[in-house]
C-alpha cells in the first residue's frame, strides 16, 4: 500500500468516499476465534479498488487468507487498471480483471505454498474508473450499486453473482479451489449514474438481499438506502458513523439472520462542489 501522504491525497482527491469494516460474527466471538472476513481498498483521483473476502470457516488460517487476498487485490487490480485506464468499457475491461485475478491467484498460491488450502477464502473486487465499473467475484460475495431515481425512490441493483456451487448455501468456491478460475464471474458496467457501491461477504446476504420464490436475489432497498445515506454526509467519516456501522453489523437483528462474520465496504460519489 502507498505511503500515508499519498493515501491521504488519494482520499482527498478521489471522487469517491469509501468506508467499511469486517466484524467477527456471534459464533466466532463466542468461541474466541478471529474474524475470518477482511476488506481493503485503495483510492486515487482516477481510480478506486475495493475488495472483500470471506475466509473459509472450516480452515485454520483462513483469517490470514482473506487478509492476504484483499491486500493483493487492491495492489494488482489497481496496477492493471491504472495501466489500462484509457480502455473503454467492455471486453478489454473484463480481460484486465481476469489478468489481475491471475496475478492475485499466483502470488496467493506462491505465498501460501503447500498449505494453501488452510488459507481458503472467497474474493470480490470492484474497480471504479471515470468511464466504467469493473466487477470480479469468486465465491459468494456480492455487490449492490445505487444508480438513478424512480418516482423519487433511489434505485439499487445487484451485480451478477457467481453461480451457486452446491445445494447448501454454506458451501462455496475459494481462491484455493482446484478450478477456481472457472468459477470467476466478471462484469463491466458503464453508467455515470452510479453513485454508490456496496461490497459484502455472504454474512450479510440475508440482511442486504431479498430472495424471490424462484430463488432470484434482489437488493433489500431499505438496507442499501440506509448504509449509503449514512456515508453521503460530506467530509471524513466520523467516529460516530464508524461505531454506528459496527453496531449495525453486530446487532442481534443481523445475528439472528446470520451468525457468520460480516463485512460491509461502501463507496459513495462525493457531491460535486
Amino acid at each position: 500500500m502507498a505511503d500515508r501522504g499519498a493515501k491521504d491525497r488519494g482520499e482527498r482527491e478521489s471522487p469517491w468516499r469509501v468506508h467499511g469494516m469486517s466484524v467477527e460474527g456471534y459464533r466466532h466471538r463466542r468461541q474466541g476465534l478471529p474474524c475470518q472476513d477482511a476488506c481493503a481498498y485503495t483510492v486515487s483521483p482516477s481510480l478506486a479498488v475495493l475488495a472483500v473476502a470471506d475466509g473459509a470457516g472450516s480452515r485454520p488460517r483462513s483469517d490470514e487468507g482473506s487478509l492476504l487476498a484483499v491486500e493483493l487485490a487492491a495492489e494488482h487490480f489497481g496496477r492493471r487498471a491504472a495501466a489500462a485506464a484509457d480502455s473503454g468499457p467492455g471486453t478489454a475491461v473484463r480481460e484486465l480483471l481476469v489478468d489481475a485475478f491471475r496475478d492475485v491467484s499466483k502470488v496467493f498460491l506462491d505465498t501460501t505454498g503447500a498449505d494453501a488450502p488452510d488459507f481458503a477464502t472467497t474474493l470480490t473486487v470492484v474497480v471504479l474508473t471515470p468511464g466504467w465499473l469493473g466487477h470480479l467475484t469468486l465465491g459468494d460475495g456480492f455487490v449492490v450499486v445505487r444508480a438513478g431515481t424512480e418516482d423519487g425512490e433511489r434505485q439499487f441493483h445487484l451485480l451478477p453473482q457467481a453461480a451457486e456451487a452446491s445445494e447448501y448455501s454454506n458451501e462455496t468456491v475459494f481462491l484455493t479451489s482446484p478450478d477456481a478460475a472457472r468459477w470467476v464471474r466478471t462484469a463491466c458496467v458503464s453508467d455515470p449514474g452510479i453513485d454508490g457501491v456496496l461490497l459484502s461477504t455472504d454474512g450479510l446476504a440475508q440482511a442486504a438481499l431479498n430472495r424471490s420464490a424462484g430463488g432470484a436475489s434482489s437488493p433489500n432497498a431499505s438496507f442499501a438506502d440506509a448504509v449509503f445515506r449514512s456515508l453521503d454526509a460530506p467530509g471524513p467519516v466520523s467516529d460516530n458513523a464508524h461505531e454506528a456501522l459496527a453496531a449495525l453489523l453486530r446487532s442481534d437483528r443481523l445475528t439472528a439472520l446470520n451468525a457468520d462474520d460480516k463485512t460491509l465496504l461502501r463507496a459513495v460519489r462525493k457531491a460535486r462542489p
Partner: protein
C-alpha cells in the same frame, strides 16, 4: 438472549426492514416411544427436551435458523409432531417449527417399534421441507436427522422384522448425495443386534450409550448444527460425535 451484542439498531439504521430469511437448518428428532421406554426413560427424555428447548431459544445463532420436527415411533405406529401437537397424518401440515417458536411435546411410551417407517417418514419430511424452502426462495443448510432407540425394529404387531433391510441402500444413497446427516443412537438396554441395525443405518455416526443421556445427545445435535452453520468439514462432525460417544453420563461418574 444470551448475547453481548447491542439489542437495538443504531438510530440511523433503525428504519431498515428485514425479512425473516435466515438460512434454515431442518432438524428431525426421530424418537423411540415404544413400551420399553416407559417409566424413567421417557420422563428423562421429556425433561431433556424441555431443557434443550430453553437453550435453543437462548442461542442467537440457532434460534432463527434451526427448524425442529419430532417423529415418534411407539403406540400403534408412527407420529409426526409439530411442537407439542401430534399431527393428523392426513393433514398437509409440515411438522417443522422454527426453533425460537418450538415447544416440546409431552411424550408417553407404549406399543411397538416401527423404526423403519419412522426413518422413512423422517426422510420424507426432510425432502418435503427442502422443496418448500426452495419454493419460497429460502436457503438452507444440510438437514440433520437424529434417530434414538433402545430396541429393535418391529412390525405393527410387535414382532421383530427384517423390513429395515430395505432402508440400507436408500440411506447409503441419500448419505452419498449428502441430502442430510443421520445420527443413529442406541440407549438403555439396547442389544448387540440393535446396535448392528444402527451401524447399518449410519456407518460412521452410530453410537451405543449407557443409560439415557438425552441431555448430552440433544446438546450434541446443537453442536452439530453450529458446525453445519460454520461450514465445517466432515472431520469436525466426526470429532463432535466421537467426543459425544466417549463421554460418560453425569450420573455414572
Amino acid at each position: 438472549m444470551h448475547s453481548e451484542y447491542p439489542p437495538t439498531l443504531p438510530a440511523e439504521y433503525a428504519d431498515i426492514e428485514f425479512e425473516n430469511n435466515a438460512q434454515r437448518l431442518p432438524l428431525v428428532l426421530c424418537l423411540d416411544t415404544s413400551s420399553s421406554m416407559a417409566g424413567a426413560p421417557i420422563q428423562t427424555l421429556n425433561n431433556a427436551l424441555t431443557e434443550w428447548t430453553r437453550e435453543l431459544h437462548d442461542d442467537v445463532s440457532l434460534s432463527y435458523s434451526v427448524e425442529v420436527a419430532v417423529i415418534t415411533f411407539g403406540g400403534q405406529g408412527v407420529g409426526a409432531w409439530r411442537g407439542p401437537q401430534l399431527l393428523d397424518p392426513r393433514a398437509p401440515v409440515s411438522p417443522f417449527v422454527p426453533a425460537h417458536l418450538f415447544r416440546p411435546p409431552r411424550l408417553a411410551a407404549a406399543g411397538v417399534t416401527l423404526m423403519t417407517e419412522a426413518l422413512e417418514l423422517s426422510m420424507h419430511i426432510v425432502a418435503a421441507r427442502k422443496a418448500e424452502l426452495r419454493a419460497s426462495g429460502l436457503q438452507y443448510y444440510r438437514p440433520q436427522i437424529c434417530l434414538v432407540t433402545d430396541g429393535l425394529p418391529t412390525d405393527g404387531t410387535g414382532h421383530l422384522t427384517d423390513s429395515w433391510h430395505r432402508l440400507i441402500p436408500v440411506l447409503a444413497e441419500e448419505q452419498r448425495a449428502r441430502r442430510f446427516r443421520l445420527y443413529a443412537i442406541g440407549v438403555g438396554g439396547i442389544t448387540d443386534m440393535g446396535e448392528q441395525v444402527l451401524q447399518a443405518f449410519a456407518p460412521k455416526f452410530h453410537a451405543r450409550l449407557q443409560g439415557f443421556p438425552f441431555r448430552e445427545l440433544l446438546q450434541m445435535m446443537s453442536a452439530s448444527a453450529n458446525a453445519e452453520q460454520k461450514g465445517a468439514g466432515d472431520e469436525v462432525f466426526e470429532k463432535i460425535f466421537s467426543q459425544f460417544k466417549t463421554q460418560r453420563p453425569a450420573w455414572e461418574s
